[in-house]
């Protein structure tokens, strides 16, 4: 790190560097920047608004159609006629304008864009989904925006934003077995608070720790601390092994100005869980397990842009192999993409999950935002690998959502109560 390859004499953070490179001048936190956008991502749930903004309000077509992607993932396949109609309009729009379309079943927007190489180091990627911070996993400045901003970006090829201050998060030590990137992210949110990084970028110094998928989990959850972007500094061979070209200039400079610095010792971390109904309401799983000893868990959901990747399904399968989901508990597993699903099919993971009693869903967002496929009834309790536990998020307002890693979720499914992986050793075994 600390390579002096910036455009100016004053040291810059990663966010400042990317926004300077994609703009017309060297910028620092607090400056207004108008920047080139490398990819604009539109999800099905705003497709109608987006098309309306483009056609009626702006009377514009996408300036660079190849830089725009529409992903049908939030309610896929369609659940009602009106949803089907909105998706039909999205398909027609893509056909007319030449923008990319990823249709039902291809998967969750962030996962798909990463798989397709549509987020790359040093790029700016805007998405109509708040978890667009995910692209920071590969050192892209990813940020979520609303339909109006997304349409303006598609029409102009640019966006305008205030250059964020940055929070520096340094990870030290190594994770203990059974502790995952999800636990790290929840701990980071606990430390920062749900508004601890509002308007700011979180710059994560992880060295050569964490795979691309784990980096996606970390960057994904940065928005839950309010962040505009969550950037993981590339380290080691992790990204180059995937074929990414990492420009020298993308690394933050030594002496860059941070608004706050925190250090997280990974070796001291235990599995974490967010209790209802705010993401920063984080506890040790062991502690919640005691508190919720007599509380049956009705549904366990493994999937979403946070934790629906192959390594997440592997972690769940490792716990569930040779065991059964507890009677009275439903386990819903939804791979993040068709690619993840295919891989999990080929290596037997899906069979393991199926035999354990999992219900498998179409690649996509599933019940994460409460629109279809597994929403919760009043009073039900769900342990989910997703990213939000807000009231009413996954169905009824009196349902309660706990957020955890895939391994903890799988253990909970076997025990029928909040559990740690080590708890399942003698439970739920299939003869």
């Amino acid at each position: 790190m600390g390579r002096m390859t910036n455009l100016s004499s004053r040291p810059q953070t990663m966010a400042e560097k990317i926004l300077s490179r994609r703009g017309t001048q060297v910028v620092y936190a607090g400056d207004l920047a108008v920047v080139e956008v490398d990819q604009v991502m539109v999800v099905d749930s705003i497709a109608q608004s987006f098309i309306q903004r483009m056609q009626q309000d702006l009377n514009a077509t996408p300036r660079y159609p190849e830089r725009v992607s529409i992903v049908i993932d939030h309610v896929a396949p369609a659940s009602t006629v009106s949803v089907a109609q909105a998706q039909k309009e999205a398909r027609e729009y893509a056909a007319q304008t030449g923008v990319r379309l990823f249709d039902v079943g291809r998967g969750i927007c962030h996962q798909v864009l990463m798989e397709e190489g549509l987020a790359r180091p040093g790029w700016i990627v805007l998405g109509s989904d708040s978890h667009s911070t995910t692209y920071g996993a590969v050192a892209a400045f990813g940020s979520g925006m609303g339909a109006t901003d997304i349409a303006l970006a598609a029409a102009s090829g640019k966006t305008w934003l205030k250059v964020p201050e940055s929070v520096k998060v340094t990870f030290t030590g190594d994770l203990r077995p059974g502790v995952t990137a999800k636990d790290v992210a929840l701990e980071m949110i606990r430390r920062l608070g749900a508004d601890g990084a509002t308007y700011q970028s979180i710059e994560m110094h992880a060295g050569d720790r964490f795979t691309r998928g784990e980096r996606m989990t970390l960057a994904n959850l940065c928005v839950e601390a309010g962040a505009k972007a969550g950037l993981v500094v590339p380290g080691g061979e992790i990204l180059t092994a995937y074929g990414y070209d990492i420009p020298e200039w993308v690394y933050p400079d030594q002496g860059a100005a941070y608004v706050q610095s925190i250090e997280i010792d990974l070796s001291a971390l235990n599995p974490r869980m967010s209790a209802p109904s705010e993401v920063d309401n984080v506890f040790d799983v062991a502690e919640l397990r005691e508190q919720l000893r007599d509380q049956p868990v009705d549904q366990v959901f493994i999937g979403t842009c946070t934790n629906g990747r192959i390594e997440d399904l592997h972690a769940a399968a490792d716990v569930l192999r040779g065991r059964r989901v507890a009677p009275g508990t439903r386990l819903l597993v939804i791979p993040a993409s068709s690619q993840v699903m295919e891989e999990a099919m080929a290596d037997g993971t899906l069979l393991t999950l199926q035999r354990a009693g999992a219900v498998l869903g179409t690649p996509g967002c599933g019940p994460c935002m409460g629109r279809h496929q597994g929403v919760l009834a009043p009073g039900e309790v769900c342990v989910s690998t997703s990213n939000r536990n807000f009231i009413g998020r996954m169905g009824d307002k009196d349902a309660r959502i706990y957020l955890a890693s895939p391994a903890v979720a799988a253990a909970t499914a076997v025990m029928g109560r909040v559990a740690l992986p080590e708890d399942v050793m003698t439970h739920g075994e299939v003869a």
Partner: protein, 164 residues
Amino acid sequence: MPRIWKFGDSVNTDDILPGKFAPFMAGEDVFQTFAFHYIRPEFAAQVQPGDVLIGGRNWGLGSSREYAPQALKKLRVGGIVAPTFARIHYRNLLNLGIPAFEYDLTGVLQDGDEVSLDVQTGVLTYAEGTVQLPPPPEFLREALAEGSILAFFKKHGRFPGEPA
């Protein structure tokens, strides 16, 4: 006279408009009737044009869904005052032309208090006095002067602050 609707800290976009009532699910004409459906079910039926929402910290955290502020716009909410806003939502509010002021009024005003808010000057008048609310950030005023960011872009073919 416009009234105050007071909320607490961390009102999120699912509170403002639960995801399952998105326009493409609930219908373009009625989705606003589900504003604050779970946390203040009487809101949509009783809110009057010009009423002012007062929130606590981190108003609007959560999703980028623009239909949350769109619902408030359709209900003709006069403005939102909160000590801090979540960034995506704040941008969406200003993009749609809903006045948003970063200021803490939770200790000053109560639910149902009558007020008048001059969105141009940021002066809020209530029974016992007036408050000068801070103006939006400088680079947004240029856009707001044209009515909205969309109107600005359409007229000038560029963003505020971008060289012509």
